[in-house]
């Protein structure tokens, strides 16, 4: 999906937990997610903390989307 969207000329950010697989399949803009069963949240947190975490992740993905990358880049904290 990531490769095909990119091929069609759209900027793509791949938000995923297992970034090594993302690197193997040659995604370019990669943002690490939380965990495999809950990539975009953390049920261990309370609602307010979780909302903050989710917002941070989305903002990070949007910021990565606007960043020019030269080859593959994982956007660590």
């Amino acid at each position: 999906m990531v490769k095909e969207l990119e091929r069609a000329g759209l900027p793509v950010v791949h938000v995923c937990t297992v970034t090594p697989i993302s690197l193997t399949v040659v995604a370019n803009t990669i943002v690490p997610a939380i965990a495999i069963p809950h990539p975009l949240g953390n049920p261990a947190l309370d609602k307010t903390e979780e909302k903050a975490l989710r917002r941070k992740l989305v903002m990070k993905a949007l910021s990565a989307l606007q960043t020019e990358v030269d080859g593959q880049k994982v956007f660590e904290d």
Partner: protein
């Protein structure tokens, strides 16, 4: 560590008024076992049944398969952390009831459990069509949460297997096998010219009822460590997972680990079998990195020449497998990895979710997506209510004529990644 494993061959199981083992026949009074199950207040009732090889019987949903054993000499008892305290096991003498198994069945999650057929096409794929199976179907008390029910059934299985094992105490074994590993210095002095080989066993620990336990500890929480391979023969590692059933290791397969068996067969001849290393397959990337780093470090510190690595499950654990492989290879230690494949129904898709050039010696347990048709069988132990939803099935699985069209994925042990099954490829 030295363990003598005495094998008592069981040739039949019959319900009887008195529980005993006589001339290879296990006589079981259900009332001997029932209190052992019902001592957990979370279980309302249990029904026992017997399934024999060749009978027109389907067992589903299958949770775990366990071999009854009893420790008769040496430290500790079987299933440490569960039916015994946590003494270090793996030495002395243990008796095992061969040719039979305890099978825990019945709905827990439903779609997470597996199928064992005692005859027909399915029987060719599951190793447990060849064992005499004492099946136990538990009913939970009302309102019990799935994870509490899973824990209750898992523990009840160990208690029943240990209780049956007790019937063997005092019996003469039909055969005794001796397994012995050396200390580090002793091994180097004794076998200076043999390659030092260990076995890296990856344990399924993804949570949400995909777990494995070591001496009672949830293996999600362990940092990789070393075991004497004889410890698992006493039940130091037990299963708490069964989805997708084809490539999960029921407790029985940990107890009878074929990689350990084969490495022991070569120990002192072509190699020095140093130890077993256990590691996990967690769902956080940092855990995957930490565990594979630790595993590679242990391989280096033990001065190994080679390791056999087995995976449990598929998907994201493929990354744990590849991380282990490339990091261990980077330490100068050769690896062979054992896995299975999800290559699509036609076998043409990529087999693993991850790959690396370091993984140049790979053994496969078969393609879990391969489709088979299972015949309608006369009797079901458990229920067919979930066969259309079990992992590897579809809404069209149960056909009007009663046959089942399924992927091998649904069959307990079919593509086992320790090589316990019969499938492979060249």
């Amino acid at each position: 560590m030295r363990l003598e494993l005495g094998k008592i061959n069981i040739t039949d199981i019959r319900f009887a008024k008195e529980s005993k083992i006589e001339q290879g026949v296990l006589y079981i009074d259900p009332d001997y076992l029932k209190p052992v199950v019902l001592e957990d207040e979370k279980i309302r009732d249990v029904v026992f049944d017997i399934a024999k090889p060749g009978e027109s019987v389907r067992i589903t949903p299958v949770k775990d398969v366990i071999e009854p054993r009893v420790k008769v000499e040496g430290r500790g008892g079987v299933f440490p952390g569960w039916t015994s305290k946590v003494d270090t096991v793996g030495s002395g003498r243990t008796l095992a009831l061969k040719g039979m198994a305890v099978v825990t069945a019945g709905k827990i999650v439903g779609f997470q459990e597996g199928i064992i057929d005692m005859t027909g096409t399915g029987a060719k794929y599951t190793p447990f069509s060849k064992t005499l199976n004492l099946c136990m179907v538990c009913e939970p008390v009302e309102g019990l949460k799935q994870h509490d029910y899973e824990a209750a059934v898992r523990k009840a299985g160990f208690r029943v297997a240990a209780k049956i094992g007790e019937l063997a105490r005092g019996l003469e074994a039909d055969e005794i096998c001796v397994y012995e590993t050396c200390g580090i210095r002793e091994g180097i002095e004794k076998y200076p010219d043999l390659p030092r080989v260990a076995y890296v066993s990856m344990l399924q620990t993804q949570g949400l009822l995909h777990d494995t336990y070591v001496y009672g500890v949830d293996a999600k929480q362990i940092i990789p460590t070393i075991l004497s391979p004889t410890e698992i023969m006493d039940g130091a590692v037990v299963s708490g997972n069964c989805v997708s059933a084809c490539d999960k290791n029921p407790t029985y397969i940990h107890q009878n680990n074929p990689v350990v068996e084969d490495l022991f067969a070569q120990h002192g001849k072509t190699l020095n079998f140093v130890c077993q290393i256990i590691t996990n397959e967690n769902v956080y990337l940092a855990d995957k990195e930490r565990s594979s780093n630790m595993t590679a470090k242990l391989c280096r510190m033990l001065d190994l020449d080679g390791v056999v690595v087995t995976q449990e499950g598929f998907g994201n654990p493929d990354t744990d497998l590849i991380m282990n492989c490339k990091k261990i290879e980077a330490e100068g230690v050769k690896t062979v990895i054992v896995t299975d494949e999800y290559a699509g129904r036609d076998g043409k898709s990529q087999s693993l979710a991850d790959a690396d050039a370091a993984a140049d010696a790979v053994v496969t347990g078969g393609n879990a997506n391969e489709v088979v048709v299972l015949p309608k069988l006369d009797k079901v132990i458990g229920t067919l209510d979930y066969v259309n939803r079990i992992a590897g099935a579809s809404e069209d699985t149960l056909r009007p004529d009663g046959t089942l069209e399924v992927e091998l994925q649904v069959i307990t042990g079919a593509t086992n990644e320790m090589g316990f099954g019969t499938l492979s490829a060249r």
